[in-house]
Each structure stands twice: as structure tokens, then as C-alpha cells.
């Protein structure tokens, strides 16, 4: 198996046969040294590069080294990493935390959702003790959050403790999309009722000049 990978490296590109090496998770691909670097879908252990996904091996040749990657046949390999800004939809709100579902990582829309939690202490940077989750998020809100270092197995922890993070889209009790009026309130355009939320300061990427 590792010979096939090394073989793919040694053949010059125009004479290379179309050898598609299919691999399974845990399969040892090749030696990990200066010339072979593990890319996405692989990991390095005990001096060797192993695959993490079931898919096709792809070798990216650079000047002095080559990156070994594994691409899964279906779907994305992207997962939330600590520090990423993700877009999530709030599902359940309790006194101490709110559960949400990650829909996008950065600009990439995910094909499968990931579960996440925003704890009471991570909602706001200031006055962490006085924060009430019910006044920051409600079920159905779309929020921007930053992924915190992983602690639990199946859930990501998000933080909205920055000005640019928080609620982006929210619907009022009558089902209409609300308009932000301050950093802590949004207003429904039909019933004029103001509801408290932790509003995100969304900076527009493009500014049109008339």
C-alpha cells in the first residue's frame, strides 16, 4: 500500500498511470518525513502517515515535498476547528445554556449539521454574571459564534463574546423577521414590539457607492 503511494510520487506526471488509490480509515499510507507531509484527511503517528477517511488518496506535489491528502467521495471534509466563526441556529434555550445546530463554517454551507452549545458565561464579554440567556437568544434565531477549544465529545462550545458575534436573524412572536434597533434589542416591523437579543454587529463586506 505504501509502495503504491511512493510509486505515484516517483512517476513523472505525464507518464503516470491513472492509479486511484482507495483507502480506508486507519490505513497506513507512507512514511512521514521531510518530503511527505500529512494533509487533510490524514494524520501522523509513530513516524507514519495514516488515513482518517474512507476515500481516494490525492498527492499534491510541491517543490521539495508533497502533501498527502485523502478526499472522501461524498461530502466535505471540513469540520469546525477552534477559532472558526460559524453560523448556527438556536434550538433549545434553558436557564444556563442554549443548544444550537451549526449550519455553516465561515463561507462553507455544511451538508450535515453539528451540535453546539453556548454557555451562559460565553454569551457576553462584559457582566458575565448578570446575563440572562432568555434575553440574548430564542429558539429559531440564527447566530454567529466562535468555536472554543474542544472539551466534550459530540458537542462544540461556541462563544458570542465579541461585538461582531451574536444574533443576526431573529423572528418575533408573530413570525416576522425583526430589525435590530440597538445592541440589545430587536423590533418587529408589524407589531412594533421590541424583544431583547444579543445583536451582532455585522459589517457589510461591500459598500456600494452611488
Amino acid at each position: 500500500m505504501s509502495a503504491a503511494v511512493l510509486g505515484a510520487l516517483e512517476f513523472p506526471p505525464n507518464k503516470m498511470e491513472n492509479t486511484q488509490l482507495v483507502c480506508i480509515p486507519g490505513q497506513r499510507l507512507c512514511l512521514a518525513d521531510k518530503e511527505h507531509i500529512s494533509g487533510c484527511g490524514t494524520y501522523e503517528r509513530n513516524g507514519y502517515i495514516y488515513s482518517t477517511l474512507a476515500g481516494v488518496v490525492n498527492v499534491v506535489k510541491e517543490e521539495r515535498s508533497s502533501i498527502i491528502e485523502v478526499h472522501s467521495s461524498k461530502g466535505q471534509g471540513i469540520i469546525p476547528a477552534p477559532g472558526d466563526i460559524v453560523t448556527a441556529k438556536v434550538t433549545i434555550v434553558t436557564q444556563k445554556f442554549c443548544k444550537c445546530v451549526i449550519k455553516c463554517i465561515g463561507d462553507t454551507v455544511l451538508t450535515r449539521p453539528y451540535r453546539a452549545i453556548v454557555r451562559k458565561e460565553d454569551v457576553c464579554a462584559t457582566e458575565k454574571d448578570k446575563v440572562e440567556i432568555i434575553k440574548s437568544f430564542r429558539p429559531g434565531d440564527i447566530i454567529l459564534g466562535r468555536v472554543l477549544p474542544l472539551t466534550e465529545v459530540h458537542t462544540y462550545h461556541l462563544s458570542t463574546a465579541e461585538n461582531e458575534l451574536g444574533v443576526v436573524i431573529a423572528y418575533s412572536e408573530s413570525g416576522v423577521a425583526m430589525v435590530p434597533v440597538s445592541w440589545t434589542e430587536m423590533q418587529c416591523p408589524k407589531t412594533y414590539v421590541k424583544e431583547p437579543r444579543k445583536v451582532a454587529k455585522v459589517v457589510p463586506e461591500t459598500v456600494t457607492v452611488d
Binding site: 434555550v93 434553558t94 436557564q95 432568555i134 430564542r138 429558539p139 412572536e173 408573530s174 408589524k190 407589531t191 412594533y192 414590539v193
Partner: protein, 234 residues
Amino acid sequence: MEVNVGDVVLPGDVIQAPNTNDKGKLILGPGLCRHMDEVLITTSGVLRKKGRNVYWVDSHRKRYVPVKGDTVVGVVVNRSGDTFKVDIGSSEQASLSYLAFEGATKKNRPDVQIGDIVFAKLLEASRDLEPELVCVDSYGKKGKLGVLPEGGFIFTCSLNLIRKILNPKCQMLKILGSEIPYDIAVGMNGKLWLKTKSIKETIAIVNAILTAEHLQHHEIASLCDDVINALKGM
């Protein structure tokens, strides 16, 4: 259809709002909602007005929706960690913390068992959150709240009957109490707890309260006299 105060209204009707030269605020109670520049009715009932600017719809309801500040009668059904789960007849069970009793500390746990009846106040009640109860007021005093003594009888009635008997104009509880000694806890969730000396008196008072559903205030007074006479005659 435009309606006036005192009419029987249906969802979709529009209120004839008072003139805009009043320059006051309109307070919309349950059953009313603002839609652009109109006030729409969302539940069926009788439109009422209090004072100059408070409007609401009196509707017949049996299902309780938790409202912050209401005092309710609930049954303890579960205990998990630091909280009790209490059934108050709403869509979700309410949570009652161990520390929300008078004189309760982490070492001094309150004596509450599963199956006990509690008379508590709703601290937090929202559409999206689990209701939270407390058995102590903001000063830390128990008052009338807390676990109710044994030997009582719980029954349910509609929510508007609860509001009717708690109305200061209604003399029912006073008239009954002048002849029959009893203890009662009236919960805004439609549940009442009653304790008297004998089963006959309990049944008499329960029947009197349930019959008062469709009676006017003056008819209620004569109903109470009838009940008391019947009890004495037995």
C-alpha cells in the same frame, strides 16, 4: 368588523380605537395584538376596558399558560439534582429549586416529598423557557406559599372562574367562610386546594364553587345561602 367595549368578539375583529388626539398610550392585555396601525382581536370572548386605556378580552380558558408572577397550586412529581419538578397543568413541568424555600440552605434541605402539594409563585415564565417556581417572596419570607398540609382536596375549574372568585366584588368565599370553616388555596392555573373538617362540607363547597361558573355576582350570594342552609339541614 368593528367592535366596541362590552361586545362578544371573535378573532379577526378590529377595535374602534379612541381618538388619536388623546395622545395617551393604549395598554393591550391578553387577546389583543397590534398589527400595523390597527388593534386586532386574537381570542374569542368579551372585550373589556378598565380605566382610560387598558383593554383586554375575557375569554373562556381551561388550559393554563404560565405567566410571570402568578401564584399556582402544583404537585411535586420528580426530584432531579437541586430542583423539584412540579406539575402545574401547563405544557411543561415547572422547576422549583431546593433553595427557594424559607430558611433553606445547602445543608438544611426543605422537607418536600414526591406527591406533595405546593402553593408557589412563578418566578420566570416564557414561551421558550421552562417555568420556574419559588415558595418564598423577594424578602425571603414564606407568607402563604410553600407545601400545603395533608388532608386537603384538589379540584380543577376553568381559568375565568378562578378570576371571578378572586375578584374583590365576588362575595362567595366570604359568605361560605362565615358559616363553614375551611382552608383554601386558589391557583391561577385552574387548580384549587380545599381543606375542611368533614367530607360533607368539602363536597358542598366544591359544588358551590363549580356551580358559580355561569352565575352573576348577585346570584352567587343566594347560591351560597342555599348551600349553607342545605348543609345545616343535614
